[in-house]
């Protein structure tokens, strides 16, 4: 009876026993599923700690436009003129943004509503970035498989799922272009490399559409349109010209360019801007190569061909240079814009464009930022480059070029570590995969050696060599096992580091501040939202708010009021006007404010809480930008011996300018810290110089509970008698 009962069980087990190939497929699919889930949940720290809200500044504009899109439809969104920002200029929203992110989120929203999941658009916006991060891990797997093998693909997926360089801009709540753009970037590169490897028209078309998605998503598409021609050029120089390359590049360039012109913000830049000329140049060079190849095929005389080659190349280069020169001289081809030129010449922004230089994300990178964002990938990157150079092919040349160019740009600007992350992860994955493969080959070779030694005859030399082999093999096997454990240890340290960095450094919403209280408890400062909600409820609907440009997007999105300048920073003179108003004495400032119809002024002040990103710390940038347009504002007026101070020894212009007065109004009576005099500024660590502040043309309207945001109302002019 027991035997009968046992038999079906063993038959059942036998039917479940998979072949090796199926086992491998099962392992791969389960790893990818786990990685997909991991990439999503590691980005959810801030949602769990605070609540599901949008972070930072720029995402608020994206959220507002997505809201408008879902409420009013695509055509109204595409033709939207926003009169609530940049008063009195307004902003043509449809023509000055990259719509990819908003359209993607709106599409997901519509699909979910179609399936009868009635989610709010804010939830969709908050979780868009983690969703696309998970998709990026899948693309990284396929890309790794294309470059090296499936093992490298799996490791690449795992590495990119938790890499802090990517998490920093794609955490839940960070509803910004980069969350979608990195997916589009990697996807386009994967499709292009696949097209070059296979030479198929279908893959080339797919890469053109991938490029279109990237152009619609982020201004960083300029990287793609310069890296791919550079890659094609390198292939041509190293003698790897082939029909596959010709098909892939031509199709991708022409179709991609035509599709990119559909985005109004990009417009005709692909034929008019200096940044896109490299692609066009390489396009024509490819035609020359094809032509020469065809002529060589037709001619049988080599000497004749050499002469023809020389003439053609000379003519082509001359014609190209003349055309480029004519284009640049006549002004049809615009030179490189400041943002991208400062990547090639990093000292340019510091001297010429203070707005670009003032953003903290645009500073060059120090070693600790690299370490923070990459950890052991910094070791694996050069090793991976070595393996790529050992096995050069079209695909590995691409990934090497992508890695090197993106690492250089990451060194120039901290923000661009994000673009370098996929390349670093892929190359490191190659290193890990190749090393692990070497070690496991060592582990397996021992068995084979023993078997061949035992099957052969036992000659004396064989015996001695076998003895030698036997002596070293266990040592090698143990060494390989130890090294495998070492690799496992390093990778687990990497995972720990990444999770710690994500939790501590990259999961703060920036709009809600947290600090450790006296007994280690967490204290939350929700002052920003308090102030914006007050604005929304207690001011007339057509009120205009003047603040520094950092807060513009948040004021329009949450406070629902018109602002003078916001984060788009497209008009330097307008920002300089606001900067001038903030740095002038109150009498001059009120003239400027009346001319701009300002009703409320909003400043951010960190003296009570010790918050260091407040307007007093940003004040010098207001002076510099204002002084750049209006020479009446001179930076040395606000400094004492080149030093920026707010205490008794500060410059008189500093102690009486509008920003100082608005920040420190009534602060002189405030006791902020035990044992310090009243009016002690905790962010600067000094007692302020001018405690008795009287405002003549403004009155205080609202100060938040921790004094972080202060709103002042502009008094109407006195009645004349």
């Amino acid at each position: 009876m027991a035997a009968v009962a046992n038999m079906p069980v063993s038959d059942l087990l036998k039917s479940f026993k998979l072949k090796t190939k199926q086992q491998e497929l099962l392992i791969r699919v389960s790893i990818l599923c786990l990685v997909y889930i991991l990439a999503f949940i590691t980005r959810l720290f801030s949602v769990l700690r605070y609540e599901s809200m949008i972070h930072e500044f720029d995402p608020y504009f994206n959220y507002r436009t997505t809201l408008y899109l879902t409420q009013n439809g695509f055509y109204d969104f595409w033709n939207w003129f926003d009169y609530e920002s940049w008063y009195p200029l307004g902003r043509i929203v449809g023509g000055t943004l990259y719509p990819g992110l908003m359209v993607t989120a709106a599409l997901i929203y519509r699909i979910l509503h179609f399936l009868r999941f009635a989610v709010h658009i804010r939830e969709v916006c908050v979780l868009t970035a983690p969703f696309f991060a998970s998709n990026t891990t899948l693309v990284a797997y396929f890309f790794g498989k294309e470059i090296w093998d499936t093992g490298a693909g799996l490791v690449a997926a795992i590495l990119i799922a938790v890499c802090p360089g990517y998490i920093s801009r794609s955490v839940a709540g960070s509803y910004d272009n980069e969350g979608v753009a990195i997916f589009a970037l990697l996807f386009t590169f994967y499709l292009f490399v696949k097209a070059v490897n296979t030479g198929s028209l279908a893959w080339s078309l797919a890469s053109a559409f991938g490029y279109f998605y990237m152009v619609s998503a982020w201004g960083g598409y300029v990287f793609i349109i310069n890296l791919i021609p550079l890659y094609v050029l390198v292939l041509l120089i190293t003698g790897r010209y082939s029909m596959r390359l010709y098909v892939a590049y031509n199709c991708m360039y022409v179709l991609g360019m035509l599709l990119a012109m559909q985005i109004r913000f990009v417009g005709f830049q692909h034929v008019q801007s200096g940044e896109h000329m490299a692609a066009m140049g390489v396009f024509f060079l490819m035609q020359v190569f094809y032509f020469l190849d065809w002529v060589k095929h037709m001619l049988s005389d080599t000497k004749l061909f050499q002469a023809f080659l020389r003439i053609t190349v000379t003519c082509a280069v001359t014609v190209g240079t003349i055309a480029l020169g004519l284009g640049m001289l006549s002004g049809y081809i615009s030179p490189w814009t400041g943002r991208f030129y400062s990547l090639l010449d990093p000292t340019y922004a510091k001297d010429h464009i203070p707005i670009i230089a003032s953003v903290s994300e645009h500073q060059p990178t120090a070693w600790s930022s690299f370490m923070f964002d990459f950890h052991i990938l910094l070791f694996l990157f050069p090793a991976g480059l070595y393996f790529c150079f050992k096995r050069l092919s079209d695909a590995t040349i691409f990934i090497v070029m992508y890695g090197l160019t993106s690492m250089y740009f990451a060194g120039v600007m901290v923000r661009l570590i994000l673009v370098a992350t996929p390349a670093v992860c892929l190359i490191s994955a190659i290193a890990v995969s190749a090393t692990v493969k070497n070690l496991t080959v060592l582990l397996r070779s021992k068995n084979k050696g023993v078997q061949t030694g035992s099957t052969k005859g036992s000659g004396s030399s064989k015996a001695s060599s076998k003895a030698l082999l036997d002596q070293s093999q266990p040592f090698q096997k143990n060494g390989a096992i130890a090294l495998l454990f070492g690799a496992f240890y390093l990778l687990s340290k990497y995972a720990t580091h990444c999770t710690w960095v994500t939790s501590e450094a990259y999961s703060s919403p920036s709009i809600v501040l947290a600090a450790r209280g006296a007994h280690g408890s967490r204290v939350i400062f929700d002052d920003y939202r308090e102030a914006y909600f007050w604005l929304r409820q207690n001011t007339p609907p057509d009120a205009k708010v003047m603040s520094w440009w950092d807060y513009g997007y948040q004021i329009t999105a949450m406070g629902n009021r018109t602002v003078i300048v916001d984060n788009n920073t497209w008009n330097n003179t307008h920002i300089a006007t606001v900067g001038r108003a903030m740095s002038s004495y109150e009498d001059e400032a009120i003239e400027i404010m009346r001319s701009l119809d300002v009703d409320y002024v909003l400043v951010v002040f960190g003296g009570v809480t010790g918050y260091s990103s407040d307007d007093i710390n940003k004040f010098l940038w207001m002076v510099r930008i204002g002084g750049g347009v209006f020479p009446v504002i001179k930076e040395p007026d606000y400094l004492v011996n080149g030093e920026y101070r707010v205490d008794k020894g500060a410059a008189p212009k500093m102690l009486n300018c509008l920003m100082y007065k608005l920040c420190y109004y009534r602060f002189g009576e405030m006791l902020t810290e035990y044992g310090k005099p009243p009016g002690y500024d905790r962010a600067r660590g000094v007692e302020i110089g001018n405690k008795d502040i009287k405002l003549e043309h403004l009155e205080e309207a609202f100060t938040t509970s921790n004094w972080i945001v202060r709103i002042y109302k502009v008094k109407p002019p006195n009645n004349r008698w």
Binding site: L236, I237, T238, Y241, F289, D293, L304, Q306, A307, F308, L309, R310, I311, V313, T314, V317, P346, T347, K350, S360, Q363, P364, T365, A366, W367, S368, S369, F370, M371, F372, I376, L378, F379, L380, P382, A383, L385, Y386, F387, F389, L392, L404, M407, Y408, A410, G411, V412, V414, A431, A434, T435, N438, L442, G479, L483, G486, L490, T496, W500, A505
Partner: protein, 182 residues
């Protein structure tokens, strides 16, 4: 037959004349317009000297040469060289001991993640490159075509490089960021 030499030299007179001297019959059929112009003026009345010159031919460097150049560039980028050029921090910081008044050097810039002194950047960059080279040495050690003693020494060097680099890097980060992994 080369088809990819972008540097197409103008056929200079010496080589043109050499070709003409070597292959008189082919000279008749030359398609090169420059050659014909030069044949007319000035070389119908000037006689070029007989020289034995060759155009310098350039060959692409080997893969490993390029790799070592790249390693050098990587070292410079990752040690924050561009940060050093733009922000111009001091080579090493200094702080004054409040008790004795002596000036003590400070190697790691405290307080921010994205800031460094020059020396701390260079030493960290060196550690990163050392770790990378360690992994490369490990791969070289597994190459079958070497003597066993070299393989053993490569593997020992590789393992020790990786261990030292990882330990030092973790130490540097712990010094720089006081709350690291807590």
């Amino acid at each position: 037959m080369s088809q990819k030499s972008r540097m197409a030299p103008k056929p200079d007179p010496q080589s043109a004349s050499n070709v003409a001297a070597a292959d008189a019959a082919a000279a008749q059929f030359s398609m090169d317009p420059f050659f014909h112009i030069l044949k007319l003026v000035p070389f119908s009345f000037l006689r070029p000297p007989r020289l034995r010159l060759k155009l310098p031919s350039f060959s692409l460097p080997s893969a490993m040469t390029v790799f070592s150049l790249i390693l050098l560039t990587y070292f410079m980028v990752v040690s924050g060289f561009i940060y050093d050029v733009i922000v111009e921090p001091p080579g090493i910081g200094s702080t004054q001991d409040p008790a004795t008044g002596a000036v003590r050097p400070v190697v790691f810039l405290p307080g921010r993640v994205n800031g460094q002194y020059i020396i701390e950047g260079l030493s960290s960059g060196f550690m990163f490159v050392l770790g990378g080279i360690g992994i490369v040495l490990l791969d070289l050690a597994l190459d079958k075509n070497r003597a066993r003693s070299i393989k053993v020494s490569y593997s020992i060097a590789g393992i020790s490089s990786i261990v030292i680099a990882y330990v030092m890097t973790t130490l540097f980060v712990r010094i720089k960021i006081p709350g690291y992994l807590r």
